[in-house]
């Protein structure tokens, strides 16, 4: 079986803000060519590193988000580099970029210029706040984007500053959105022949992760507060997580339609060990949190807590499986790596790194399909790894041209 986006060529000029977009398209089979400045993309310096060796060829961050791309070096700021990029763009289906606003225009390589060479080209820009508006030149970072987007305000303990998620998220959201938007533009191109410019805002991508913050303000002029692993809604406060023997489990006292049935099954499991106390007398599906006395909720949670404290998170998760109630362990990365479900699904993929003389395991495909597609991933490119394939074999430069271009700091 071939891969799903096989016919398409993507030129990927992005830095860390856009890595994931090209990876998504590349993992689905598109021919993605990562174009780095001579010497390599500075974002190869983002850690962690393979065996903690700080080396531009050993960034695990780079590895993680640049799979299934080929790589060339090209200085598009030089006259030769510009011409070479134009040649590539003439035959490309997509260009991905995340430069500061105006940079590509100053080189004569923005969407308007490229569309004159290739009217059906789609150029996707991933920038901190989008291509227009008062903040368009603002700088960002994962923390800044998560803060401006509204996620930070609602996360963290009430007696300390609000927090971000301690693993980079904002550029990843923007990257997948960019891939989706690019494919919508592609769908339209296939109907009409017309290319276009896709303008992705990292801030707006993060606004899409705030859920309650917006309707709370719009409907009731209330601010959804941060409250650690507790939540106050329906006029009462309830836990989103409980301690257990060796860590934490994510579960709550569920009530109402559908969710109440999950709670009833948990209570059944507790009852089978004589630990449900008076929770057995409650019709959870008929119950609503609304108007529930706080002492009552506290009581349920105390009975649940005592039960959870008897067991490890793995033991509780196994009970959840048996009784089909809703409880999840709070997994560390180590727990995730060993998670049976992922092994059974064949989620992990082994990718060869010949220069490291080993294969590394990576998170695998985003979906399984029937019929199955070739979703083989290959490792991120080395600096200029495919210069010869692209410049000599495809564009017809001679090897001595390559030497001259190298000396002129073009590649």
């Amino acid at each position: 079986m071939s891969s799903i986006l096989e016919p398409y060529r993507v030129l990927d000029l992005t830095d860390v803000k856009g890595f994931l977009c090209g990876k998504v398209l590349g993992d689905l089979g598109a021919d993605v060519i990562k174009i780095e400045r001579p010497g390599g993309d500075p974002d190869r310096n983002i850690g962690p590193f393979y065996h903690d060796a700080p080396d531009a060829e050993k960034s695990l961050y780079w590895f993680a988000y640049n799979t299934s791309k080929r790589g060339i070096t090209l200085n598009i700021g030089t006259a030769d580099g510009k011409e070479i990029f134009k040649q590539l763009a003439k035959k490309a289906d997509f260009v991905l970029e995340s430069f500061p606003l105006g940079y590509l225009k100053s080189l004569g390589l923005d969407y308007v210029a490229l569309s004159e060479l290739n009217p059906s080209i789609i150029v996707t820009s991933i920038t901190p706040f989008g291509q227009t508006g008062p903040y368009k030149d603002y700088k960002t970072s994962d923390l800044v984007a998560s803060a401006m987007g509204g996620l930070v305000y609602i996360c963290g303990d009430v007696d300390r500053p609000p927090v971000r998620i301690s693993a980079e998220q904002a550029y990843l959201h923007a990257g997948v959105h960019a891939a989706g938007a690019t494919l919508i533009a592609h769908y339209y191109r296939e109907l009409t022949g017309a290319g276009q410019h896709v303008d992705v805002s990292i801030e707006e991508a993060m606004v899409w992760t705030t859920m309650y913050a917006i309707p709370y303000w719009h409907t009731a002029q209330r601010l959804f507060p941060r409250s650690g692993n507790l939540q106050t809604r329906y006029g009462s406060t309830y836990r989103l997580m409980f301690p257990c023997k060796d860590g934490y489990v994510a579960v709550r006292a569920y009530t109402g339609l559908t969710f109440g049935a999950w709670q009833a099954r948990l209570v059944k499991a507790m009852e089978s060990e004589g630990m449900a106390e008076d929770l057995t007398s409650i019709d959870w599906e008929a119950l609503s949190f609304e108007g529930q006395r706080q002492e009552e909720i506290d009581h349920w949670e105390e009975v649940m807590r005592q039960y959870f404290m008897k067991y490890t998170k793995a033991e509780l998760y196994e009970k959840a499986r048996q009784y089909e109630f809703s409880l999840f362990p709070s997994n560390t990365p180590k727990n995730i790596v060993k998670y049976q479900q992922l092994a059974e699904r064949g989620f992990w993929v082994e990718i060869e790194h010949p220069e490291l003389k080993e294969a590394l395991r990576y998170p695998g495909a985003i979906f399984k399909s029937e019929p199955a597609f070739d979703q083989t991933m290959f490792r991120a490119p080395l600096i200029g790894e495919h210069n010869e394939e692209i410049y000599v074999q495809e564009l017809g430069f001679s090897k001595s041209d390559l030497v001259r271009l190298k000396q002129a700091n073009v590649i």
Binding site: L5, G133, V152, P161, L183, G228, T258, V337, L342
Partner: protein
């Protein structure tokens, strides 16, 4: 001339509920696809009965979160437990290009609506099933929602303070990752079908899509044996890097300094205080070493300014900084979001108005725009039956009388 929406003519049946599937189908609908959302009054989309409600009055048509995630769709209330209901569903399958569903594995099959069945009706149908953990595997039948599933994928463990219980996010965070991938999967499948004429079944999960966002910590664990943990707002490669108290109640600003240049600019904006010239803050390594004190001193400065002042002063000097925005900031004060029209107010027959967000991108030639408000339950029963399925009025009335549309 009004630009054409890019997905006009694309036909989608949305059997999904809660957040992830509905958002993906909303994006498709805003971009022009005809989306028929199927629920019933005995089993409505659960988010219809989730707070907050418009004007704080409960009702299946009043949930503000439902409203945000379901603009531009048709609503058909179909009692799938009725023996004749699957016939209606099958007629819609014959009409549709794509079926999206998010029931527990096996549910669609039980209703006679599994992929094999649907293929018999429409050989090139694309069907996507979105679940917690996939269609297969020993934990595939576990029920749950994203608020708890975030723990399974490590988000809970990685959010909060190292000396405290994990906080996690207060939202079903994986529900705000999976829809972006669902959209990619559907658009890729449509391209495949256009090129080959073949349909496709897609098994996509919150678990496997969310783990895409955990690549570096997972590789760090597998390659280096390191188990990363939550760090508050610390960043391994930046200092100062944090959320700092500003003037006012519960007002904060995020500042992220990655380079010496940004550090020098920050010092200038702070008025070049003498402490900032001390050797213990002169280099990245020494700033990192003295980070708690550094944060305290930076906060001393920020707390005399509003978060908006800190942000605009620092951004003008080229330092990444931003207000820690709350719902009011986002909706009422953020001039960038206003300029980009990220929020749209739509007229709704029952609640008057509701707010919906648009996808975080703009397509220059074929923009997406919400077509209409999130539908009331069953609002388009008549339209779907008579206009899409071509039934006569008498046939439609019979369906209503038989309790198939409820």
């Amino acid at each position: 001339m009004k630009a054409k929406r890019p997905l006009e003519g694309l036909k989608i049946i949305d059997f999904t509920w809660l957040i992830s599937g509905p958002i993906a189908c909303k994006f498709l609908a805003d971009y022009g696809a005809e989306v028929v959302k199927i629920e019933s009054s005995s089993v409505p989309d659960n988010i219809r009965i989730t707070t907050p409600f418009n004007a704080n009055i409960a009702g299946v048509n009043r949930s503000a979160t439902f409203a945000n995630y379901n603009s531009s769709k048709y609503s058909l209330s179909l009692n799938l437990k009725h023996p004749k209901a699957s016939n209606i569903a099958k007629k819609l399958v014959a009409w549709a290009d794509v079926i999206v569903e998010s029931f527990r594995p096996g549910t669609m099959k039980r209703w006679g609506l599994g992929y094999e069945e649907l293929r018999k009706i429409k050989p090139d149908i694309i069907m996507l099933s979105m679940t917690m953990q996939g269609q297969t595997g020993v934990f595939s039948h576990l029920p749950g929602v994203g608020t708890q599933l975030q723990a399974l994928v490590g988000v809970t463990h990685l959010t909060g303070w190292p000396d405290r219980e994990p906080a996690g996010t207060p939202i079903p965070y994986p529900d705000f990752i999976s829809p972006w991938y669902i959209l990619v999967a559907i658009m890729a499948a449509l391209d495949y079908r256009r090129r080959t004429g073949h349909g496709l079944y897609i098994d996509i999960s919150q678990l496997e899509t969310s783990l895409q966002f955990m690549g570096p910590p997972l590789l760090d664990c597998m390659v280096n044996g390191r188990v990363q943990t939550r760090l508050g707002n610390q960043h391994p490669y930046a200092a100062p890097h944090g959320v700092y108290r500003c003037r006012g109640d519960n007002r904060w600003c995020a500042i992220a300094v990655f380079t010496d240049e940004e550090w020098r600019s920050l010092c200038e904006v702070m008025g070049s205080p003498s402490w900032a010239k001390e050797p213990r803050f002169a280099t990245f390594l020494t700033r990192k070493e003295n980070e708690p004190e550094l944060n305290m001193l930076v906060e001393k400065w920020t707390s005399t300014h509003t978060a908006e002042e800190v942000t605009s002063l620092l951004q003008a000097a080229g330092v990444p900084a931003g207000v820690v925005q709350n719902g009011q900031d986002l909706l009422d004060h953020d001039s960038q979001l206003q300029h980009r029209r990220h929020f749209r107010i739509l007229d709704h027959p029952e609640t008057g108005q509701h707010v919906t967000e648009v996808a975080p991108y703009r397509l220059s030639r074929s923009p997406g725009e919400p077509k209409w408000a999130a539908p009331c339950l069953g609002e388009h029963n008549n339209y779907v039956c008579t206009q899409i399925l071509g039934m006569s009025d008498a046939e439609f009335i019979e369906l209503v009388a038989e309790g198939i549309l409820e």
